[in-house]
């Protein structure tokens, strides 16, 4: 035998040995019974990874391919417990504060009394936009609160059929009035943005307690610090409830169940705080301050009222030569 064949024999032996060594563990692993679930998808593992399970389904409604989402439990907890506390504390809390404030301070009077002369504060267009938005807001707020608190407060005192009728109409109003409300919010944003950019007068106004705490009358232009706050609450809060609301209203377009859950959480929290803030706004515009309602009522405010609450604005108006009563609308 040549050296060449020796080497071939030795290499061949090694190759066979190697093949046997490699093959042995594989053969030993071959189970006696087949367990197909060992390699199959596992419910618990899938839930741990994504907290939801979805796959392929043959339905036109592809959102139905999601078969399990335990996150619904968290949303239930939010809707049944968290949101109710947030809404109850903020709304009842603000109401309680207003009652205490009214009892201790009473109506803020026009200190120097009425002058009998008036100046135009809001023109017809501004008042129309305000009242359109305000009317929608009140109905939206009540029908919204009914969804969260109705079954606890109203259902016990009426038949289920009557409560359903109320809630069904509430839903229709809530859906339809969202449109004029959204339009009103956009119009408010556009027509009053000019007077509502925060500046250093507001810092001074806040420092001096806004005239709410104590009897001070810090100077203000057309909108004081508090009104600017209300303005931005309406604009930003209105935008948040509108966007989240339309997501809920058109559930078949581009949102998943996680998306609508989040939208409802935003809608609920923002709406509750919005209502609480508006209670303060309604208070100061009605029984909280003498002469304030006229601004949105007839649009004409007493000059002395303007002097005390919007001194810088009144000076502007005077400067325009509009010192005569009912001269011309304020911008």
């Amino acid at each position: 035998m040549t050296l060449h064949t020796h080497i071939r024999t030795i290499l061949g032996t090694f190759a066979i040995l190697l093949a046997v060594i490699v093959a042995t563990p594989a053969a030993a692993q071959q189970p006696t019974t087949v367990n197909p679930t060992a390699s199959s998808v596992n419910e618990e593992k899938l839930l741990r990874e994504l907290n939801q399970i979805s796959g392929r389904c043959t339905l036109p409604n592809q959102t139905a391919c999601l078969i399990e989402q335990p996150a619904g439990r968290d949303w239930r907890e939010f809707h049944q417990v968290t949101l109710r506390w947030i809404a109850a504390i903020s709304i009842v809390g603000v109401l309680a504060l207003l009652v205490i404030f009214y009892l201790s301070r009473g109506m803020v009077k026009i200190e120097s009394g009425r002058s009998g002369r008036t100046v135009t504060r809001f023109n017809g267009y501004e008042r129309f936009v305000h009242w359109m938005t305000a009317t929608c807001f009140i109905i939206l707020a009540l029908s919204g609160l009914n969804i969260t608190f109705g079954k606890a407060l109203l259902l016990p005192i009426m038949s289920p059929e009557a409560f359903t009728a109320i809630s069904q109409w509430g839903k229709y109003f809530h859906n339809y009035l969202s449109f004029p409300f959204t339009i009103g919010t956009v119009m408010i944003f556009l027509m009053w943005i000019g007077g509502n950019i925060p500046n250093k007068t507001d810092v001074e106004w806040v420092k001096r307690g806004g005239g709410i705490v104590g009897k001070d009358h810090p100077p203000a232009y057309r909108f004081n610090g508090g009104q600017k706050m209300i303005y931005w609450i309406v604009v930003l809060g209105g935008a948040a409830v509108a966007v989240s609301g339309y997501i809920l209203m058109f559930p078949f377009y581009g949102t998943t169940v996680s998306g609508v859950q989040l939208a409802q959480i935003v809608h609920g929290i923002v709406a509750a705080l919005f209502i609480a803030a508006m209670l303060g706004h309604i208070y100061i515009g009605t029984i909280g301050m003498e002469g304030a309602f006229e601004a949105m009522g007839s649009g004409e405010v007493d000059v002395n009222w303007a002097k005390e609450h919007h001194k810088l604005w009144l000076e502007e108006e005077m400067g325009k030569g509009s010192s005569r009563a009912k001269a011309q609308p304020a911008e």
Binding site: S39, E43, E44, T63, R73, W75, K151, P160, N175, P251
Partner: protein
């Protein structure tokens, strides 16, 4: 009293969709609404499984908890039903349901939600009578006739089991013991807060 439950043995489901078809036909469920559907997870990959899913008739049902008009109720058999006369179509039960069971016909405002429709465990609606009016709203009431849900009755591989929870759990456990494997009862932990060892 029995506690009615569904159990889908994913190791047996062959995604034939007979349960879906049976349900649609039995109750004449409108187009676009699926009270039951079959979903394949990891489709086309090793270890894929198909699961037939509908309302699981949960213990302490989330849909009933969040409903703003309290239109849900649980029967003595543990079946979760709702009244379409009281439903306002708000969609909240769908947000809370872990199994995506509530469905809405697009007949409401702006083509959004009408009154919710879901699996009734073939137990009809609030009124147990098999009248035409009840049929149109909820489908047939097979339970009242002593029959079990048609989806499970029709299942060609007996993957889908419907009936008293204890009995179907026992059947499944025997199956798992005999064949030596099982991927567990899908959805049971979420729906009933219990599992069956696979």
């Amino acid at each position: 009293m029995a506690r009615m439950k569904f159990l889908c043995d994913a190791d047996r489901c062959i995604e034939c969709n007979a349960c879906v078809t049976a349900c649609k036909n039995e109750h004449e469920v409108p187009w676009g609404i699926n009270r039951r559907r079959v979903v394949t997870i990891n489709d086309g990959q090793p270890g894929e499984r198909s699961v037939s899913m509908a309302c699981m008739h949960c213990t302490d049902a989330p849909c009933a908890a969040v409903c703003p008009v309290n239109c849900f109720f649980t029967t003595a058999d543990g079946v979760v039903l709702h009244s379409k006369d009281l439903c306002i179509g708000c969609g909240y039960c769908f947000y809370a349901c872990p199994f995506g069971a509530p469905q809405y016909p697009r007949v409401g405002n702006f083509g959004s939600r009408g009154k919710m429709d879901k699996c009734t465990f073939c137990a009809g609606g609030p009124d147990p009578a098999n009248t035409q009016a009840n049929f149109v709203q909820y489908g047939t009431n097979r339970l009242a006739e002593g029959k079990l849900p048609l989806c499970a009755e029709m299942c060609s591989t007996k993957s889908l089991l419907a009936g008293d929870g204890d009995i179907i759990a026992k059947i499944y456990k025997e199956r798992v013991a005999k064949r030596g494997y099982g991927s567990g009862a899908w959805g049971w932990k979420t729906a009933y807060r219990e599992t069956i060892a696979g």
